[in-house]
């Protein structure tokens, strides 16, 4: 049943959000974000199959392509951040705050 797929998708999405919120490790945060994308993919494919329409699958394909582009940038970012601070702690990179900006 479609409802099962959608429920799975929502739960997976929530787990992804929890991961983004609760963890400090930027690599884990990145993978949590990937979880969010995959959760959406699951529901898109299920709906596309139910409605017998290929558009949903095309969107999933695009999402995967974008995820790949994103992965490349993230990896470059990790390298830069780790090189500068020798740490993976997301809370160190808080330059958005007024008092932290240098």
């Amino acid at each position: 049943m479609l409802s099962n797929y959608l429920t799975l998708s929502v739960i997976l999405f929530s787990i992804g959000i929890i991961g983004v919120l609760s963890r400090k490790n930027i690599i884990v945060i990145y993978m949590s974000i990937e979880l969010l994308l995959n959760a959406v993919n699951i529901s898109l494919v299920a709906i596309s199959n139910t409605l017998q329409s290929n558009e949903g699958q095309v969107i999933v394909l695009m999402i995967i392509a974008i995820a790949a582009a994103e992965a490349a940038l993230f990896m470059a970012l990790f390298v830069v951040l780790f090189r500068n601070k020798r740490s993976l702690d997301a809370d160190i990179f808080n330059l958005l705050g007024e008092k932290n900006a240098s």
Binding site: V20, L21, I29, D91, F93, N94, L95, G97, K99, A101
Partner: protein, 628 residues
């Protein structure tokens, strides 16, 4: 070509030439001067040529030309078309504005030829021509006001033309501010007029038709307010102090704007509204007295002045006084005819003065001049013609117009005004010849340089105009037909003197004038004259200091205003407004110092807030959908 299109071209030619000059000067500053010269001359030439055609049509075929270019404003009842109308009155104005304007443009080519701001001058000069045409040709008071403000603007810009000197800028500001006071009156009058009879339409002809629907008090009020506008523009007491200072501009500007055309706009405006003034006797009489008073004090000040251009400026003000006397006593066509003749002889005087100033290396003080009769004989003859004309010696044009006014004043039984007018007329002859003797007689103190042809030729042409233009309106006592008065068809009050009285008056006037010239000769011209004009008596000192009017205005208006501004600055601005703003800022800063704790720059925290929002939104959504 249809006549209305010719009228449009006449109006727009100077505008576009001003525009092109400005664009070329901005885009290609190094363009050769000849381009500007051609553009600057071509538009006034075209306008003058078209003006003559159109005036011919109006005078001989009696065609009033109307042209509506576009609708400018249309707000329910307030419908203002951008339209032009050429009737007899505007034709007569065009008859001197366009040709004299063209001649002064030619003159300016010579006068300005070494100036670095050559294109700026001609762009503004052409712009002035456009606005002056608009003022004269406008079909409704709004168009007239547009032209009125436009000439004020160009006048301001041209007075401050040499803006490197702060004095000239101050003179421009003075002219602009004093004109604002006048404009306040003019604008208020237009608003009142619109409130009263605006629903019928707002062109001059509809206003004229519905004037009688207003109460007498309303008419008096509008008439008085309109005259305030005229006072400012035409330099009448008490708003005249800007005119002498306006001589800071280049001499062609003084000749065209502050003598021949713009300052007569007030006279023209009163003639435009002559039907209104014909219904308002008390205000008219007031106007006559103001005119007489202005004429008198201007003539007095001119007789103790040493700056050649300022003498002419005061004489302009004095002649404008004559025009207002005439209008106040109901002789609108005589006033307009005096505007017409005045434009010729006053432009001639100014151009002559400019030529003298140029040939003496920018010396304006007449005490330092002298003996120019030998080195500049042509100029001497021209200036003599103009001086005789302004002194009202037959048969030059000044005689016909001024004498008509004097005769009318006498016939209206206004003997006080007549006395003032007669005395002023004598003074006029005195100060003009005082200037003439100072400049052309005695020893030569500065060696004069020859004057260029482009300056002499327009002066000579104008001199011909001075000699001939008077014959256009020969009064009946000389066997003439007063053709211009009949053509203008203004609501004149006609008073007739029998010919004996008239000839007596003319004889008396002429006799006194010759006496005044003789006195001036004895004092300043003859070989034995000392030519030192120091203030011996107390009254001379008062006159030399221009009756302390500028100082009085300074104490009455400028100082209190300055003090008030200072008070506002210290108390209102700093203590109340600024401090309240600063306190508000401090309050926000204080609140923000707590609020800022939430936003410490950790992105994860921001994400948490987002999730709170998301959850809240979904809870709301749930209950909202339940409720459906």
């Amino acid at each position: 070509m249809p006549l209305d299109i010719l009228l449009n071209i006449l109006l727009l030619a100077p505008f576009f030439s001003a525009l092109f000059i400005a664009i070329i000067a901005l885009a290609q500053p190094s363009s050769p001067k000849i381009i500007y010269s051609i553009l600057a001359i071509f538009a006034p030439l075209l306008s003058a040529f078209l003006a003559l055609i159109l005036i011919y049509e109006n005078y001989f075929n009696g065609i009033d030309i109307h042209s509506e270019i576009f609708t400018w404003l249309s707000v329910s009842a307030f419908h203002i078309p951008f339209s032009l109308h050429l009737d007899a009155l505007s034709s007569l104005m065009l008859l001197f504005v366009a040709p004299v304007g063209f001649l002064i443009h030619v003159y300016a080519l010579g006068y300005m030829k070494d100036d670095s701001s050559y294109p700026r001058f001609f762009a503004l000069f052409n712009l002035f021509m456009f606005f002056m045409f608009l003022l004269v040709l406008g079909d409704n008071p709004i168009m007239m006001f547009l032209g009125w403000e436009g000439v004020g603007l160009s006048s301001y810009a041209l007075i401050s033309f040499y803006y490197e000197d702060a004095k000239n800028v101050a003179a421009g500001n003075k002219a602009f501010i004093l004109n604002r006071i006048g404009d306040f009156g003019f604008l208020s009058a237009l608003m009142l007029l619109f409130i009263s009879i605006g629903e019928y339409g707002f062109s001059f002809s509809t206003i004229e038709l519905h004037l009688h629907e207003m109460s007498a008090e309303r008419i008096n009020l509008i008439a008085a307010l309109l005259f305030v506008g005229a006072m400012g523009k035409s330099a009448q007491f008490p708003l005249y102090v800007w005119l002498p200072d306006a001589m800071a501009g280049p001499t062609p500007v003084s000749a065209l704007i502050h003598a021949a055309t713009m300052v007569t706009a007030g006279v023209y405006m009163l003639a435009r509204f002559s039907d209104l003034y014909a219904m308002s006797e008390s205000v008219s009489l007031f106007i006559a007295y103001i005119g007489a008073f202005s004429a008198l004090i201007a003539a007095l000040m001119a007789s103790r002045e040493f700056d050649i251009k300022k003498i002419l400026a005061y004489s302009t003000m004095s002649q404008l006084g004559y025009m207002f006397m005439a209008e106040g006593l109901g002789a609108y066509s005589f006033a307009i005819f005096h505007v017409f003749t005045h434009a010729f002889f006053k432009a001639l005087l100014f151009m002559g003065a400019g030529a003298i100033i140029m040939s003496l290396h920018h010396e304006q003080d007449i005490r330092k001049m002298g003996g120019l009769r030998k080195s500049l004989p042509m100029l001497f003859i021209m200036m003599l013609i103009a001086s005789l004309s302004i002194s009202a010696i037959a048969p030059l044009n000044g005689f016909f117009s001024k004498d008509a006014i004097m005769g009318h004043i006498f016939a209206s039984d206004a003997y006080i005004i007549y006395g003032i007018a007669l005395f002023t007329s004598i003074l006029t002859a005195f100060y003009m010849f005082r200037m003439l003797f100072f400049v052309f007689y005695g020893e030569e103190k500065i060696k004069a340089v020859a004057v260029s042809k482009t300056m002499i030729i327009p002066i000579a042409l104008l001199a011909v105009g001075v000699i001939l233009s008077g014959f256009l309106n020969v009064p009946s006592s000389f066997g003439g037909s007063e053709s211009i008065s009949i053509w203008l068809n203004l609501p004149d009050i006609r008073e007739f003197l029998d010919h004996t009285t008239e000839f007596t008056l003319i004889g008396l006037n002429t006799f006194f004038i010759f006496v005044a010239i003789f006195v001036a000769y004895l004092k300043y011209g003859s070989a034995t004259a000392t030519r030192e004009d120091v203030d011996k008596y107390r009254y001379q000192k008062i006159i030399s200091n221009k009756f302390y009017i500028d100082e009085l205005y300074h104490i009455l208006f400028v100082k209190p205003l300055y003090k008030m501004s200072k008070g506002f600055d210290v108390y209102i601005n700093h203590k109340i407004i600024d401090s309240s703003i600063h306190r508000t800022i401090a309050l926000y800063y204080y609140i923000a110092s707590y609020y800022r704790l939430i936003y410490d720059g950790s992105v994860r925290l921001y994400a948490l807030f987002m999730v709170f929002g998301l959850s809240g939104l979904f809870i709301y959504l749930y209950f909202a959908l339940e409720a459906m």
